[in-house]
């Protein structure tokens, strides 16, 4: 049973640039779409507000695990059971957590980023079903937003 996600992407940018985009909280916030309150510090929790349309009520939270310059940036974050406003809870104290790792390697022309998210086996079966329904709802809402926008 595969309980992890692994993705590889080659970026046409120097490793020092990619490292900054991942670990500077303002830069991370720009591409991830989250307004973080402060810098990432190993061993500390970072929080912020999601800026994705329809998900603005959700709190982003990550416990920074490792920052090995230009090699590895990792954090754990909670899995969210309900994404919809009515049932969403910002209390993550008992939420199952997954580990997110960004591993960097220089290539001839840029940087290879390997993203690994692991630990999904700790997510209860009932939660997984709820989270899927929550996401579907979210996407339906997003499509509606687009419809309203173009109409």
């Amino acid at each position: 049973m595969e309980n992890r996600i692994e993705k590889r992407i080659v970026l046409n940018a120097p490793i020092v640039r990619v490292w900054r985009a991942l670990t500077d909280y303002r830069e991370f916030g720009q591409w991830f779409r989250v307004a973080l309150e402060g810098p990432f510090v190993v061993g500390q929790v970072s929080r912020g507000r999601i800026l994705h349309p329809g998900y603005e009520h959700i709190v982003w939270e990550g416990l920074i695990e490792k920052m090995e310059p230009e090699r590895l940036f990792s954090f754990t974050w909670p899995q969210i059971r309900f994404h919809d406003k009515e049932r969403y809870s910002p209390d993550y104290s008992s939420a199952p957590r997954t580990l997110v790792e960004f591993r960097l390697e220089p290539t001839a022309t840029g940087t290879m980023v390997t993203l690994i998210e692991s630990g999904f086996e700790s997510v209860p079966a009932a939660w997984r079903a709820d989270a899927l329904r929550g996401n579907d709802g979210g996407w339906t809402q997003q499509m509606k937003n687009i419809e309203n926008y173009v109409a």
Binding site: R17, Q30, F120, P124
Partner: protein, 119 residues
Amino acid sequence: MSPKIRSRSRSRTRARRPQPAILFAALGDATRLALIGKLSSGQPASIAQLTAGSRLTRQAISKHLRVLERAGLVRSVRAGRESRIALDPHAIEEMQKYLAAVSRRWDQALARLKAFVED
């Protein structure tokens, strides 16, 4: 004879809505991970089969299996008079769907990262 699913254990698992702490613990253990590994072929196994090759007692293995059952990852199936343990295909299917949804979100986020650093 096809194995008959004991609906009792299934509905009990559903109704109880496992505690996150229990689920946290469910696979954070080498023995339980090994048990999942043995069952991953999809073939149900008896407790005796699962105990064979392990240094643990049958009782200890049963205890670990109960933890996995509460987590919704395995269930008991009846084969004649014998009870066998199987991975819950429904749980695994849901896990795959869940991972696919997370995976799509990462594809989008990484595409935004690419655009951001290459700009």
